[in-house]
Subunit: 667 residues, 2 copies
């Protein structure tokens, strides 16, 4: 029995695949299970190379971490008949991985042995992650269920963009996130390396770039090479982005002569769209970019090169008479025309240095060359337009994980839905895939993991698995398992939570602080900077930084309330328990408000959470007694609910909606 | 007002010192507070050296971690007038730190500046830790309260022994535990580097020691030097131990000709006292030890050298006719006499290589030379005997943290109490201090931090603070703050807890697994290996490995029950809440028992925890109703309580005693 996994068929298919994320293309359950114990051995057949050997060593270390079994030196060179796991590779694959890489693999597990077969090492990397997700405690020890999986990705470009410019991300952050990406089968690290707030790569040709543009926080070329190797070892490409002609203040700090406006320039510490912009009319600028792109094209082996191109406000162009004259001379009606001129010239340079150019969707213009990849971020419309125009395109609109939206919202965004649904099959092929984008205005090394993970796993599944895999409930269940796996891998999205709450707590019991944190979320979209002027130097140590983008507690509570309102007594009892905890919680924090400014700012929220707990219990009492709640009571609760819906301390209380349902049911 | 802090005076003294551990010798509260913000600067005056500069950099990094404030490059070379923190050092101190190091310091904090003054860098290291413990969130931002602290240790030798032999401890474990030691002002890492189960240091003179005795898991000499420097940077000495003549199977694996019995020998994988022993009668053995001790004495600069000397079972000696003949020829009546002969000859070698010898208390004998330090472990009696005999002595009896006893029990052990109380002041001066001992039969790199911390902080306070500082309630409160600080430092005693429970949980909700884990403790003393044959290769992934040595939840519950039984209504309500959670908990786990062998083994415990929850609630109902519980009910609960007191899965349920109190009160 072979089963193509689709949402509705999943439950019927197999409990074996229940923790897999992304879901494989096809799963055939077997009988029995393979035992994983201290005798675990791994071997290789077929084509062999050092990164396969390194992958084998990682498998051993990760099983040891996952299971607690003392394993070491479990690699056996010639044990194809007896090894627990065989990695069987046909051929070497590309010297530099591209979107053409063959990531397909077959995983066959019997009670005797597991075998991952792939045409090239990249497929082996994907199969390894599936194998590791299948290990679980069985009745007598750890096992992998007998199974046959055939798997391949739906889209060739499945990326995560990390912004190292706005907050510098140390190498450890990049490494552990590459591990996380590999775990969910993402294959592109799009590295945003320059912006107004920092230029982050050592240039030997133009050393003032990092000297004047980074506060000393940049990656040396050796470190870049190390990261590229680390990524390649995991079947991940590294695509650099150097943003021009806007978002370039940090570049211009060292080379103000390239600017369209008068310098000097310095690193900008505030967020938003700023004025400093390259001058697109002067040959010196292209001479600079020629040498710079040449240097970076050598450093980054990937065939693609991202030149940004977004959010040019045009102020410096408008204010510069020479540029205005240039526009007139060239018959450029708008700054968009001028940017197209710039884009074309930059693209010639990028092509000259052997790369394909990518730019944000601002560069999409009727005249843009057909081999330029458009990176769609301002809406899926540009995705369809680009493909219709014949340009390859990547989707990030809908995948901006800095906006603090729920995983289900990202999960529902399919590159082939919406405007792209009308494309011809040929045009649809131009849609290479997508990227989650981790912009770094409000994240630093301490918090970034908790913004990327686990939600990015949902985007990874969208881009890997069948289009029909869309059930959010299944996604959330499997994402919880992935979150646990990522913790074992060293991601800090879970482990940094309590220490950050400890910092806020002062003398309050941290368990009570956690009760608040568990049911709040940061404000959504671009709401965070309103009324509070953040800069690159602002501490990110508030409750809004510790709170998770998505409250599991609140989501589960909403489900329980729905069940309770449909008459499920057990659910009603658990709803009551939770409400009781919230009702009692503020009293535990109140004595400590005076002692901690970080706690005091959430006092109104904590008080409302306790009030909502009380309102919910009273509503349950009315419902249980089959009484209508009096009008005065209802009005009081509605006032509470309205207040509790307002953001305070840049936080939203996520249990308001289900409590409102209870109150309405008591009417 | 200057206050010498004693237990009873503490509350009166100052809320400022409320989180300090170990408590300083004297604290004088001031007015106001020093602000710690992004403008934080640190500078040095007086004597300067690289490790002070490194300490300053660590202070900046740790404040950033602790507060979340973005600090970097906050060191200012010439800012004595304006810096937030001044490190003022008089002189360089010893080239190699010894117990004579001057660790005293003065910390003076005004609203304008903090200043740590010390005679030598070691005192600065201690003052830094006090300063960091004083940082807290105030009403408007982070502050350090104005204060004057004068401080110095009570004992010069305050150690932690780490056993890297029975389970190899990677360098990261050693480094982070050195950070933890520094945080609680411990100053000696006693490093147990050889035993039957492993020889862990590279010897260039006798390379078969590590080749045959370590499974490839040993520290290179460069790594040892790196750790010694890391320790010295934090004012910590590193005292190596190479255990002879017993506990030497791993040494004899490479050099069987040194043994008293016939070889070959190999690494032993089981625990306990084993037979392989050096032959004390042959000159080749002393030639070997001469060269070996010479090599290690060069590698480890500390003036002390630990030769073990414990647990010689004498079987190989008794079975060897030549050794029996040697005993007769030398008029040695017992094997103890023969070991004394060995000890004296080894001590000559240790002295020849410029070191003072330490040995476990088995080497204490009327004839042992007066400059040998006795390490008391089998009872405090040997401590007093050694001092009476004129030998310096270190206490570890009562500080064996592998025995899973509560912090309060270790805290109550004072080197100058018990048999030592009768010593003369001169004799008492021979008591150098003590060491917590982390023997490694049942710990590995994943679990070791949770066995060392936070309990070792209580021992550290015993050895640093005044003898009169003995209140366990204050100790537990401050130890909780230290535990949080250690988490920020990178210790994994807290962060590994949930991942280990995740591994056990299988498909069960980890919160329900945690509810069980929170109220159990590993069996105490040497009970663990009974009925279960552990070896060095046994997985340490069971609930007994995840459970903390001491259940905070159970301790706090016991306090609540006492309050409730004295009529505290609020306490009674909280007792009831907790009992209700336990009562409901097993139902959440039951569906998952079949899916995980690691969970299934705790099923009986989980069931009893829920039964105890029910018993407690029913008892509260009888008490509240002022009714006598019926005899049948009482008998049923007593049977439950007796069963629940028995260890299962090597675990103890720690809420049995308080529930028993409730049941008795309902009689």
């Amino acid at each position: 029995m072979r089963i193509a996994i689709a949402a509705l068929m999943l439950a019927a298919a197999s409990a074996h695949a229940q923790d897999l994320m992304p879901l494989p293309a096809s799963v055939t359950p077997g009988e029995g299970a393979l035992v994983i114990d201290t005798g675990f051995q791994i071997t290789m057949t077929g084509y062999q190379e050092p990164r396969l050997r390194a992958a084998a060593a990682r498998v051993v270390a990760r099983i040891a971490r996952q299971t607690g079994l003392p394993l070491s030196g479990a690699f056996e060179p010639d044990a194809a008949a007896t090894a627990t796991l065989v990695l069987d590779t046909r051929a070497p694959g590309e010297a530099v991985q591209s979107p053409a890489a063959d990531e397909s693999y077959t995983l066959e597990v019997t009670t005797q042995q597991a075998r991952i077969s792939a045409n090239e090492p990249t497929g082996i990397m994907r199969g390894i992650e599936t194998f590791l997700q299948l290990i679980r405690p069985g009745e007598k020890g750890f096992v992998v269920p007998a199974i046959r999986i055939e798997d391949r990705p739906r889209f060739a470009w499945r990326g995560l963009m990390i912004d190292s410019s706005r907050h510098f991300m140390p190498l450890g952050v990049i490494r552990r996130n590459l591990d996380g990406m590999a775990a969910v089968k993402l294959n592109v690290l799009h590295w945003h390396l320059s912006d107004d707030q920092g230029f982050r790569v050592e240039s030997k040709v133009f050393p003032r770039l990092q000297q004047m543009g980074s506060d000393g926080r940049f990656y040396t070329q050796d470190q870049i090479r190390e990261i590229i190797q680390y990524a390649r070892d995991r079947g991940i490409r590294v695509v650099p982005e150097f943003d021009v002609p806007g978002h370039s203040a940090a570049m211009l700090a060292g080379y103000p002569e390239l600017a369209a406006g008068p310098g000097p320039f310095q690193i900008i510490r505030t967020w938003g769209v700023h004025d400093p912009t390259l001058d697109p009319t002067r040959d010196e600028v292209y001479d600079f970019l020629d040498k710079f792109i040449g240097e970076m094209a050598d450093l980054f082996p990937d065939p693609y090169f991202h030149i940004g191109g977004d959010e040019v406000n045009g102020k410096q162009w408008n204010a510069n008479p020479a540029i205005q004259e240039f526009k007139r001379a060239h018959n450029f009606a708008t700054n968009e025309d001028l940017q197209l001129y710039f884009t074309r010239r930059v693209q010639e340079l990028v092509r000259k240095h052997g790369k394909k150019m990518i730019g944000w969707d601002e560069i999409l213009h009727a005249g843009v060359p057909k081999d330029v990849v458009i990176h769609s971020w301002r809406g899926a419309k540009s995705l369809a337009e680009a493909a219709r125009q014949g340009n390859p395109v990547i989707l990030s609109s809908g995948y901006y994980i800095d906006l603090m939206q729920p995983a289900s919202q990202h999960y529902a965004v399919d590159p082939l839905n919406g405007p792209a649904a009308d494309l011809t099959p040929e045009q649809q092929k131009l849609i290479l895939g997508g990227e989650a984008c981790m912009w770094a205005e409000y994240v630093n090394a301490e918090t970034v993991d908790s913004r990327i993970w686990p939600r990015t796993a949902a985007i990874a599944e969208r881009l890997w698995s069948a289009r029909t895999v869309t059930d959010p409930e299944s996604m959330y269940r499997r994402m919880a398992a992935v979150s646990r796996e990522l913790d074992w891998l060293g991601l800090q999205h879970r482990s940094n939570y309590i220490p950050m709450l400890d910092r806020i707590a002062g003398t309050a019991p941290v368990s009570a602080v956690k009760t608040v944190a568990d049911v709040v979320e940061p404000v959504k979209g671009y709401a965070r900077n309103r009324g509070h002027k953040y800069t690159a130097l602002s501490p990110l140590n508030h409750m809004v930084d510790a709170a998770r983008p998505e409250s599991d507690t609140a989501r589960e509570f909403a489900t329980l309330v729905d069940a309770a309102l449909k008459g499920d007594k057990a659910a009603a009892a658990r709803v009551r328990e939770k409400l009781a905890v919230w009702r009692a919680n503020d009293a535990r924090l109140a004595p400590a408000y005076g002692g901690s400014f970080l706690l005091a700012e959430v006092a109104p929220i904590s008080q409302d959470i306790s009030a909502l707990g009380g309102a919910g219990i009273e509503a349950l009492d009315y419902i249980a007694a089959r009484k209508h709640a009096p009008r005065a009571w209802i009005e009081k609760q509605q006032a509470l609910i309205e207040r509790a819906k307002q953001p305070r301390a840049e936080l939203l209380i996520m249990i308001v909606a289900p409590v409102e349902k209870l109150v309405n049911a008591a009417k």
